[in-house]
């Protein structure tokens, strides 16, 4: 079958949203399909949005592709008689974050109109799909609430999960993830001030926010935590990541209101490590079950510190929780065979 994978992108910005497309391409090609990936540049500036929407409607793959699978906004606006949508997220500033203080647009009548128009366009374009999937329960709920559309949850797996393994259990809680303010590495550093055991922390990842990196470094040195916290502010290769996770005590993933469980969660689970997260982490809470395969705590350094200490003190239980994390992957049908079966039905 000829399958076009269509998504939007910002050049040179890599990460989860690209991985889902690129990894699916590999899986489809392994199954003998011909795959074409189309990334259409997208800019989130408000005055460009409608034009970009219209641009996607111009793309005509009806005579070339047997089906298209669309991901990010506004790739699902591409018309096709056999359009499948694996919906990753809304443009959230015009949806659930419309009234959020973080939104940087003024609520003018023009913006109100834009919001309404985008929602109408989204609903119309998504309604054209032969099948509508989402990457998490939280995104599915938003689709139902804002667009009145039902969808099936299809959790995205990671590429070659077998490269992750469990080797041992040291004293470190690791957080392997892009270093960004909304990933909240600072909460873990602050928590380390309150721990009562020799538990250690390792933060790994590249930052695109220099001021945040500086802030983290200052926070570590100001609190005299340099002996107990390792901050590797660089790109960590996949091989390195697997090795770091294989020997750690547990993993942490504390994003603010994430759209899905996030690949760091899955990588930790494949490494048989429990995951510490927070009540406001969004989609992560669909994977982590408090006390079974990790801990869910308020986003507060003192609460986090208590759980970090517990993981350190009760290593036997920590290892059991790690094994439960691995089981959770199967429970949620997180596998490429399931993804292909659903997308190609």
């Amino acid at each position: 079958m000829k399958i076009a994978l269509c998504s939007s992108f910002v050049p040179f910005v890599l990460g989860g949203l690209r991985n889902i497309v690129d990894w699916l391409k590999i899986q489809l090609e392994d199954q003998g399909h011909q795959v074409e990936v189309l990334y259409i540049p997208q800019h989130d500036r408000s005055d460009l949005l409608i034009g970009q929407y219209a641009n996607n409607r111009l793309i005509d793959l009806a005579n070339q592709a047997d089906r298209i699978i669309c991901f990010r906004p506004f790739s699902y606006a591409i018309p096709h008689p056999h359009k499948i949508v694996w919906f990753i997220h809304h443009l959230r500033d015009y949806y659930d974050l419309w009234n959020h203080p973080s939104r940087d647009h003024p609520v003018s009548p023009e913006m109100q109109q834009l919001k309404n128009t985008l929602r109408e366009l989204d609903t119309a374009a998504l309604s054209e799909a032969k099948a509508l999937f989402t990457n998490s329960r939280i995104v599915a709920e938003r689709l139902r609430f804002f667009n009145g559309l039902d969808s099936e949850i299809l959790y995205p797996p990671i590429h070659q999960p077998a490269r992750f393994f469990c080797h041992s259990s040291n004293d470190e809680i690791v957080y392997v993830c892009r270093v960004q303010n909304h990933k909240r590495q600072h909460l873990l550093i602050e928590a380390m001030r309150h721990t009562k055991t020799p538990v250690r922390l390792r933060l790994c990842g590249k930052s695109g926010e220099e001021h945040y990196t500086t802030y983290l470094n200052n926070l570590i040195s100001k609190n005299q935590l340099t002996q107990r916290i390792t901050f590797e502010n660089r790109w960590i290769s996949e091989e390195e990541k697997a090795i770091i996770l294989s020997g750690c005590l547990a993993a942490a993933y504390l994003p603010l209101d994430e759209d899905s469980y996030g690949y760091p969660t899955l990588e930790a689970a494949h490494s048989e490590k429990p995951i510490i997260t927070t009540l406001d982490a969004g989609g992560v809470l669909e994977f982590v079950q408090d006390g079974r395969n990790g801990f869910i705590v308020p986003p507060d350094p003192i609460d986090l510190a208590a759980m970090m200490d517990q993981l350190y003190r009760k290593k036997q239980e920590t290892q059991t929780m790690g094994r439960e994390a691995l089981k959770r992957i199967d429970e949620l049908h997180i596998s490429w065979s399931h993804v292909l079966q659903r997308l190609l039905q």
Partner: protein, 136 residues
């Protein structure tokens, strides 16, 4: 530098120009730059120019346009590649580079974004010369 290589494509068809583009991306990456491709699907001609003009490219220091419709992409620093048709038919990589907003007067190290550019043209007679023309 972050260098984006733009070209049109016929979906599901792999052409000689696709192979050259892949080769260039790898060569530019080997030279220490960030480089990736922008593949514009060929659509109805009337719509194509509007489609291309409407694309907004951010996060890119230099745009290299490998064929004619892509020459119309908007970006403050563009390198337009014009292939010699006769040479192309014989499998030779030969043509002219047109710099738009880019000055080919000094070498730009991978970690530096050029700051002062102007326009000009240069000839290239093979792949390595083309690469040099892009990276100056």
């Amino acid at each position: 530098m972050r260098i984006l290589l733009a070209k049109t494509i016929e979906p599901f068809l792999s052409t000689e120009s696709d192979r050259i583009a892949c080769d260039l991306i790898q060569a530019i990456q080997s030279a220490g730059h960030f480089c990736e491709g922008l593949r514009i699907p060929l659509i109805e001609a009337i719509a194509l120019s509007g489609f291309i003009r409407a694309l907004e490219l951010e996060n890119t220091d230099l745009l290299v346009c490998l064929d004619q419709p892509c020459h119309n992409l908007r970006h403050p620093a563009k390198v337009l590649v014009q292939w010699d048709d006769a040479a192309w038919k014989t499998g030779t990589i030969q043509g002219t580079i047109h710099y738009v907003g880019v000055v080919p007067t000094q070498s730009h190290p991978p970690d530096k974004t050029p700051t002062s550019w102007e326009s000009g043209t240069r000839r290239f007679g093979n792949r390595d010369e083309l690469l040099q023309c892009i990276l100056v």
